[in-house]
């Protein structure tokens, strides 16, 4: 849009606009008049070609590079729209300006419908008006051409991206299968030896095998995370909701990670309100477990020996929300990095060699999964004091509304997938 034609005087005083104009008119006097106007048009350096009939015009167009056609509405037996159709058939793609003797609204409308870029009444034609209209026509045509080309490019790009996305999905699908099949054999043979099915093992052997087994589990988690992230991006991640008690889920998470915390020299504490009513949520238990183990594992990873990781459940009665905070006493997240932690591919500072990286999709996945459940995760941190991640989930309301109870699958894509909109961007 920066290429808008400049005011006339400026153009006239600097460079002139070079154009090859084909005027088509069966009245020779009118052609002569156009010629004189063009010569005097300010700021226009026009070369005028003329034709007195459609056939004549087609011949000229076949041999010359014409920028714009100036065409009489009545040309022998033909009217404007027909003339334009014939000119187009001979391959001319540029703008056509319609000239009319006594042009009414219907002549103008018919001209535009046939693809004319503008129209002028012969009585109004002056050198300045003609010059301005021609330049405007050529410029407008050039812009709309550019826009059309851009649109085509975009359509091609969208098509390519859609195809790529589909291929990527297929690739992830196959990749997962091809990685998990050998992983299954590997972990199971390790388990067979560990379980003593290949004879007695020494404590040292069992220790080594346990390391191998733990790493197999890590590979499996990574494969699953990659697949989940890919599904979230294509809107195909589904959750199987079931009503469950969040406190019990928390107990399981803590029980599962207690030994790891102990090994890291940390205290892993669980705090929850003293109340009899259960904290009910309607969630995919497996997914919420995944979120919480991820948050607690991170907290353990980033907290030095002697520190504490606290998991706390709070109930917001007024908002009908449950908050699970996972607080560590680690060195915190620098303020400039805090807004980035949920971005896909976020990693802790690479120069920090004390902490191993990961795929950088863990927290991204956690937040997306929480949002799929109508919740969210927020992070806060104070350098050198610790970080706190809060998972927020809506309380399950036990009204007997349709489909709120029991187990069922909700897909972020399929019909009835009410979760679709929550994934947005």
């Amino acid at each position: 849009m920066s290429e808008r034609p400049q005011p006339e005087q400026e153009v006239a005083s600097t460079t002139s606009f070079e154009l090859c104009v084909l005027a088509i008119d069966d009245t020779v006097e009118d052609l002569d008049l156009m010629g004189r106007h063009l010569e005097r048009a300010p700021g226009l350096d026009a070369e005028l070609l003329t034709a007195v009939s459609v056939e004549d015009a087609q011949r000229v167009l076949a041999g010359e590079k014409v920028d714009v056609v100036l065409c009489d509405y009545h040309l022998g037996a033909f009217k404007g729209p027909e003339v334009i159709a014939r000119i187009r058939r001979s391959g001319f793609r540029g703008p056509v300006l319609m000239l009319t003797g006594r042009g009414g609204e219907n002549v103008a409308a018919a001209s535009f419908r046939a693809g004319a870029i503008d129209y002028l009444r012969k009585a109004q034609v002056s050198p300045a008006a003609l010059g301005r209209t021609l330049r405007h026509a050529v410029e407008k045509h050039r812009l709309s051409q550019a826009l059309e080309e851009r649109n085509e490019e975009l359509a091609t790009t969208i098509e390519a991206l859609t195809r790529q996305q589909k291929e990527m999905r297929q690739f992830h699908h196959v990749l997962s299968h091809e990685l998990k099949t050998p992983l299954t054999a590997t972990s199971e043979f390790i388990a067979l030896v560990l379980d003593g099915l290949a004879g007695e093992t020494t404590p040292e052997q069992r220790d080594y095998l346990a390391v191998a087994q733990r790493n197999c589990a890590a590979i499996q988690r990574n494969i699953d995370d990659i697949l989940d992230a890919s599904r979230i991006e294509t809107g195909r991640l589904s959750v199987r909701r079931e009503v469950c008690e969040l406190d019990q889920l928390l107990e399981r998470v803590v029980a599962c990670l207690e030994s790891r915390a102990r090994a890291a020299g940390l205290v892993l504490a669980l705090r929850r309100p003293e109340r009899s009513t259960a904290a009910l949520v309607n969630v995919d238990e497996h997914r919420i477990f995944q979120i919480l183990t991820n948050l607690v594992s991170n907290a353990i990873k980033f907290t030095p020996r002697g520190g504490e990781v606290a998991v706390e459940l709070e109930v917001d009665e007024t908002e009908q929300l449950l908050h699970v905070s996972v607080r560590d006493s680690g060195r915190g997240i620098p303020p400039q990095e805090l807004p980035l932690v949920f971005e896909r591919g976020f990693q802790v500072q690479p120069e920090d060699a004390t902490v191993k990286g990961g795929l950088g999709i863990g927290l991204y996945l956690c937040r997306q999964l929480a949002r799929l459940h109508g919740g969210d995760i927020e992070a806060s941190s104070e350098p050198e004091t610790g970080s706190c991640f809060v998972l927020e989930l809506p309380v399950h309301r036990a009204e007997p509304a349709e489909g709120t109870g029991g187990s069922r699958t909700a897909s972020s894509q399929g019909p009835g997938g009410e979760l679709q909109h929550t994934l947005g961007s």
């Binding site: 997962s176 299968h177 050998p182 199971e188 099915l197």
Partner: protein, 125 residues
């Protein structure tokens, strides 16, 4: 001794299953493609079938349908093993009334499931 037919194209996994199940007190036979599945059911008359979902020569559901069409295979419990975690795959398997165990599998869970499925009176899957 109860007989379990393992239909699994990955021979390493089939072997691991064989070792695990035999240690748990079952007799096993194994075939490694979809084509051999039906003859193995007719000849071996197994008490239970572990079936890999994706195999050369036909997907597992197709194989299960062929087994169900046999007079010998009409009521044998069939449990699927799959490395695909696509919800669509799992849903398709469960829609046809089969149990589905994901690979890598937990062997305790697998053995427990087999015992349950073979317990008289328990609901066959």
């Amino acid at each position: 001794m109860q007989r379990i037919l393992i239909i699994e194209d990955d021979e390493d996994i089939a072997r691991a299953l064989q070792i695990r199940l035999e240690a748990a007190g079952f007799a096993t036979t194994q075939v490694h493609d979809a084509v051999q599945a039906a003859p193995a059911v007719q000849q071996g008359s197994p008490d239970m079938i572990l079936l890999d979902y994706s195999m050369p020569g036909g997907n597992g559901l197709e194989v299960a349908r062929r087994i169900r069409a046999l007079p010998e295979g009409r009521s044998i419990p069939i449990t699927f093993l799959t490395a695909y975690r696509e919800p669509g795959v799992r849903a398709a398997i469960e829609r046809e009334g089969y149990h589905c165990i994901e690979k890598p599998y937990d062997s305790r869970e697998l053995v427990g499931h087999i015992r349950d499925a073979l317990t008289p009176g328990a609901e066959a899957s």
